[in-house]
Symmetry: D2
């Protein structure tokens, strides 16, 4: 594993510095595929409510890498990872979001693609990254992709990168809290690092750190409900989804957009078309929305104007007692209702508040060496689990 | 209400500044009775575990006053308070802990005094403060004392100073978190201020602020279990209580302490003796403990040495399965067991985590103008209420 | 001055909240011209070095408005501003950067436009904003524009918005420090607010606050040299300028760009063309650079690839002893040297570190009521003034 | 060097955690001589102005130790220190203030003792610490003492612990800023750690870190003038000194204090009397002051009351034009003037702002491997050096 002559650091507002020792990591960061993440914001609708949240997937990805770096220094993890596996961990952490495009969640729903699959393909197919990884050894690209696809080949690393308490969430909760300006997302990372251990090949947390983990879960709960599920954010994401939907339908009707939508068309024709997918950054898609504001298609023009001019859609609770109202609104829109109304429970959105499971999946190492679950050990979490998943089904619609 | 010519400010690490507009408040702060609070630390046993927590009741009292100042600017509260009542609020906030002595909670348990009652008497009896308050009007001392004793004469102010969500707790949670260095106690004060309102003469909180209140309660939960109820802190407080107990017993036996314990004797003879009580600050009591390390009484000497030389007592869970062990330990100490062993559930300590009630007593103002309780409105708090009070009964003992 | 029924707040990571009381301010924020600032990043080259610095002129503009709001509460300023002038102050603070386009500083150098002039024209000419301002009174648009052009009609407000110690700098230093993650830019705003006063119609600062002002100036000094003048940032800005230069030259040669450069052409033909100027946000210009990477023009293609693929240009000190080296490099590029080499002292860049003046222009109010200058009163600043302006002339060039 | 089985950590509000790996360090912290530092506040007069500054030399000493721990991880320092020398570094860092007593600076002036000498003697003479150090090897106590006395035996460690940029100052500036609540003292420790190196056996700083060092020096400048040299702090320290002076004079007159002043008497009789010196903590001395408020000696009683009841002494600039006024005041006090008036330039106080030297003593490692001084390399520091030492001679006096 080739090392840099001198450790490189990047200044980061969350961690102070991002530390880079490996030539591979430096080269991956410098690759155009990774730099492309600078052009994809981390939070789509949220930034319309929290104006500070203009950060990109680029800085989040660096953050997840830095957390991999720090977790790799935890005694038990250090012992469990040989040099190659550690580098695999770093590369997978850095590249875990490489397959994201503009406003991915809405895009994925409409176009039926998955950013993990695309990311995995970028890693094994695109020469720029593939060749960098091949410099380590011939299986390296495949192994990084395997982790991103959670195939189970490297269970420890998969657990560290993606589970109920993982470096992906640790970074985005802290980072999103920082940029939105909310005071809820703060996590005691140092404490969590100190109580992390490995038992029977799995990540566990010493019982002494249970308060830090409870605090992480409550912060997460608050970030979801206060920030990610903010109804106005969700209203914006609804418009975005409708724009994608209309574009897709118009493409199928061979509509003349009078602007270059070849990248989107390419994906409709062939969802496996990586070349076109790579053009789908915020710059491209925002440029399209901007040009759609003068489209000949009434629906597309209306949606684009709503998005750019902050025409925030209305919403009511999607509950039985509102059924008549909802039906009336839909009727008013007739066959255009699919473009101007939307039933959306929070499950439609990016983030899942899997309250019901989180107590079970986080493993606690007791003082006597036995393993228990967070749910068993935490008074606070038991309460959350008992009350179960909070739901917030809403019906969003454009006010006529 | 006489105003200062120019607003005075004191630099505070929590709020930036403490703001003082009133001549009365300035004079109260300068009084020797209030300055005495500089000599009484806020946290007794806790500072032995969290070395940063060396702050005094003086800075906490200033903090509670500053919060009164800020809450008095909330629109609804501003409207509800005339100038006299506002000053009453400020004075009561500032003086709410004036009756504390050294290591009060242990002291109060042993000597059967109550700091609120002593504080109320200081206010109406001691000329230094009494005369300052009389300058406002003849009922002012009595009214300040009434608030401190929660007699119900000024229900709004009592609720603001002492309830499930009050300026006393808001300050100490934030301040203690700051000085101990824990990341759990942070509270979104600005948000809470923004959602505070008055309805039917009572403090209520707009439903939009529910996340800030949930967060406050979870912070409080964590501060209690992580900081205030830390077993090592509790072990230190146990030793302190035993010292008080032994001193009391020796006084009753007319033991010759060979040091000046007149203040303590004075209180044993007459618990209403304010003059002696006022000498019981940390300086005095720490000086005594220091001199007790060479006492002729074996028990007192042992306890004093344990306290000063960090001989941390042992503890085990005070549960049926440990009954035999506990009895054995007690037997070993024979008739000295009362000085070297202690059954202590957290309820013996200063802070009560009244989980079971907090959801009911915090009133939430819904968007339709109706009033509900936090428990009704908060998914998170329901869980906490359902799981009920966490107990932690422990048996503390000196290792022979 | 029409007020909102209920104060509106926006969460801000720097100030906690942005407070809005006026209907006009809310409408201005919602206008598409102001929302356009979301699409123009605050720092151009800097974000390539400090990845956290992805914030836009939108959030900076809100920040400057919030500072206007806070300064308007300073006793002396409150007394000096009638309701109309206060609203003028707020509107001018909010709109002071409305005329910015993508990568403005490089753009302005090449195309000879000035964002203040464009901003002033947007305010008086574009119906969207003009009509909102006319709702106040018929002179309102003209007066806001006058302040932005610093015509001297409202000297106090001009001084507050733009001087050696003004709300523009106070916000950007603090905000840029926050997002870059540097620890140098922190300013004691509360202290500065407390010592701000007005004397003879001018903003002055009480001598008690001199340390806060020294600290502000030193923070500014460090932000300039550590962040804004970072050589790698300057290298990126050099490439940007060269792209603009090449595009301009190609336009004049009627080159076929095979992409839509009509907005840029429009401005070359008529620098007064506001309609085209408004399209020049980051989305537009980044889209262009992206398409230039496949341009038929070798120079443009090379520059665009350098920018997007992080080919960082080299630099050496632009000093006499390097003259031969510099001439050699230029010779190698022949008649393309104007596109691939650049003499740039920091004065070419956005920020001016007018060290030599700042001590003179900040007025200090002494305890005896006399007015002095910061330079006279500050030991620390005298040193800075004596050593004079730090220069850093560099020669940037593309490595062949 | 015996290691703990498991790393021990203490929660610290500045660094998050204090990390302890060595058995020796744990035992030293637990020793009663080190625990004694809990009873000696870090800042004497300052806490009367900044109420948050109630922290002790105990937490400062832990902080200096933690910085030693962190600097020992710097690559070049790690390479330069063998295990024994590293432990020597840690022990000396932890114990560097062990010789302090209550209000040391005033005390040392009056009684002619030096805390470094006393500290060194505690280390080599007192069995409690001496024996712990002897467990390492027979020269260990002597070597730790040598570092504290700056004898030059371990120049690198001496430079790290005590120079113009050392771990003692780094900790107290940051810690005092934190507890006072000032925003000036913040230091970019991570940056300083990253640029620290060793060249020719001396600590040097890479030129890339020059901004962090400038910032440290300016923070220091501001902390001195804003906090340590605050005139009201200095007024309090003046009273303290006068109390010590009067006590000393009364002791020499065999005055009957009617309270136990044996410890002070012991030191007057024999400045080498360590046993008595150890009793001189804040508890002891504050207890004395408290009892002096009822002394039969008018002067002592007056001084003690001034101190406890916040009778802040007056001060005027000690400059030629005030000479007559000053003489008049002194005359009024007659032969008591030595107790009620004081000429004090800041040099009388604990902290020396050796502006004139700091630019010369901090060594900068240039990119070409040459060594220069900070003064040569820093534009900002040159200015400070040119303007020279700021003086602030004042005449303090009790108002009659």
């Amino acid at each position: 594993m080739q090392k840099l002559e001198k450790q490189m650091v990047l200044k980061d507002p969350i961690y102070g510095y991002i530390h880079i020792d490996d030539v591979l990591i430096k080269k991956l960061i410098d690759s155009s595929l990774f730099q492309r993440l600078r052009r994809i914001r981390q939070l789509s609708g949220v930034q319309m409510v929290f104006h500070g949240a203009e950060h990109s997937r680029f800085s989040h990805s660096l953050g997840v890498y830095e957390l991999a770096y720090r977790f790799s220094e935890v005694k038990a993890i250090k012992a469990a990872l040989d040099e190659r596996t550690k580098l695999l961990f770093f590369a997978a952490a850095l590249l875990h979001d490489i397959g994201h495009g503009a406003y991915s969640h809405a895009f994925e729903d409409v176009f039926g693609v998955h950013h993990e699959e695309i990311g995995a393909r970028m890693i094994v197919e695109r020469p720029e990254i593939r060749n960098l990884l091949l410099d380590v050894d011939e299986n390296f690209p495949k192994d990084v992709a395997s982790i991103i696809l959670k195939k189970g080949d490297f269970p420890l690393i998969e657990q560290l990168i993606s589970s109920q308490l993982d470096i992906d969430r640790l970074d985005y909760l802290e980072r999103d809290a920082f940029f939105t300006g909310t005071s809820y997302g703060h996590i005691d990372l140092d404490r969590i690092l100190r109580v992390t251990d490995i038992k029977d090949g799995k990540v566990v947390f010493h019982v002494q750190g249970i308060h830090a983990i409870e605090n992480y879960l409550v912060s997460r709960y608050h970030m979801y409900w206060q920030v990610y599920y903010h109804p106005v954010s969700r209203a914006y994401e609804t418009i975005l989804e409708k724009i994608y939907l209309r574009v897709k339908d118009l493409c199928l009707q061979s509509f003349d957009f009078k602007t270059d939508v070849s990248a989107l068309k390419g994906i409709i024709n062939n969802p496996n078309d990586l070349e076109h997918y790579l053009r789908l950054d915020d710059f491209y898609f925002n440029g399209l929305i901007s040009s759609f504001t003068t489209s000949d298609d009434d629906i597309l023009r209306t949606l684009a104007n709503d998005f750019l001019n902050r025409v925030i859609w209305k919403y009511i609770d999607d509950v039985p007692e509102n059924e008549t109202t909802i039906e009336d609104i839909k009727k008013r829109y007739g066959n255009q209702a699919k473009y101007f109304t939307s039933h959306r429970s929070v499950a439609n959105f990016a983030y899942q508040d899997d309250t019901i499971h989180f107590g079970e999946e986080i493993m606690i190492l007791l003082k006597d060496g036995k393993i228990s679950t967070l749910k068993e050990q935490s008074h606070l979490i038991q309460g959350l689990v008992i009350t179960g998943i909070k739901q917030d089904p809403k019906f969003f619609y454009r006010k006529q």
